[in-house]
């Protein structure tokens, strides 16, 4: 049987002090909407700029600079955890006070894992771009955009689905998932 206790308790729409477990699922969606807009700007810049002639030129062209910032943000979410992401702080300070308290809370592990997937995709695109592969930046930013857009608009988190699948198949240890 599953352990309904932590999620069950957290699912109660009680006050913030009474819900130590789980995060407001609207937080990561708020972050994903900012990320998707920024990724779309990377795609637009990448399509209109010509590929820099050397490493330094490629590293300093606007599309690459913005993607570098996004790679850093994904790394923050993936390694510090989704709760410590700067967008999360922005959400708690500016957005959450204006909304009703969440009716359900979710485990922070899947969205944190999704940040890691975002990091892998964008970092791969950035590295290939720096090495001079044409189109790498645009393709990686487009792929990451689709995932961020699905999360922001449809509440469908691809990375979270992957996480659940990996827990199910035992590739990610269940004890880690519950910690």
């Amino acid at each position: 049987m599953s352990a309904p206790t932590p999620e069950g308790v957290a699912a109660q729409p009680t006050g913030a002090a009474a819900t130590p477990f789980g995060i407001d699922p609207r937080g990561p969606r708020f972050g994903a909407s900012i990320t998707s807009v920024l990724l779309l700007i990377v795609v637009l810049l990448g399509l209109t700029e010509s590929l820099g002639a050397n490493f330094v030129a490629r590293a300093t062209q606007p599309a690459a600079l913005l993607l570098t910032a996004l790679v850093a943000l994904f790394a923050w979410g993936a390694f510090a955890g989704i709760q410590k992401h700067p967008y999360g702080a922005l959400y708690r300070r500016l957005v959450a006070p204006r909304l009703a308290p969440p009716t359900e809370r979710e485990h922070p592990a899947p969205p944190t894992f999704a940040q890691l997937i975002g990091l892998l995709v964008t970092a791969t695109g950035l590295v290939l771009h720096l090495l001079g592969v044409p189109g790498a930046l645009v393709v990686a930013a487009s792929a990451a955009f689709v995932a961020a857009f699905l999360n922001a608009v449809f509440a469908y988190c691809l990375g979270c689905q992957l996480y659940v699948l990996l827990v199910r198949t035992g590739i990610i240890r269940r004890t880690a998932a519950r910690a």
Partner: protein, 142 residues
């Protein structure tokens, strides 16, 4: 790449359209009612219940919490219906027998333990009720 701004904008619009189409497709696929398939689950049917909802959940899954709430409310309102939850990590065999690839998937068992339908995702209460009512009718052997 350096295409002109208009072409770049067309690509952007196409990208948004693609993501929207994908999202709409995933939305319809992630929550649906499917026919029962695979083996019967006599041992999982709760004795005395006309219909048993067997919810397959995974440890980290917010839709499972939503589905649990829907099922618990229905069971509270109707004592002839039972609900039980199985963790697919603890007991992967049931999920394997019924080709369950996403959680929550809820098997609707009739009195004999025949799997009459599968509810995929956090299905709306009205659709769960309809599946329960369909499972109360006698199974017609084709």
């Amino acid at each position: 790449m350096s295409m002109d701004a208009l072409t770049a904008l067309i690509v952007i619009v196409a990208l948004i359209a693609l993501a929207t189409a994908l999202g709409l497709m995933l939305r319809t696929r992630s929550t649906r009612v499917a026919a029962g398939c695979g083996a019967d689950e006599h041992q999982l049917a709760v004795d005395g219940a006309e219909v048993t909802l067997v919810q397959l959940s995974s440890p980290v899954c917010s839709a499972c919490v939503a589905m649990r709430r829907v099922a618990t409310d229905l069971v509270a309102a109707d004592p002839t219906v039972a609900h039980r939850e199985i963790d697919v990590v603890d007991e992967p065999e049931v999920a394997r027998r019924h080709s369950v690839y996403s959680t929550p998937t809820t098997l609707v068992l009739d009195r004999e333990g025949h799997v009459r339908s599968r509810l995929i995702g956090a299905v709306k209460p009205a659709d769960v009720s309809a599946a329960i009512d369909a499972a109360r009718t006698e199974l017609v052997h084709a």
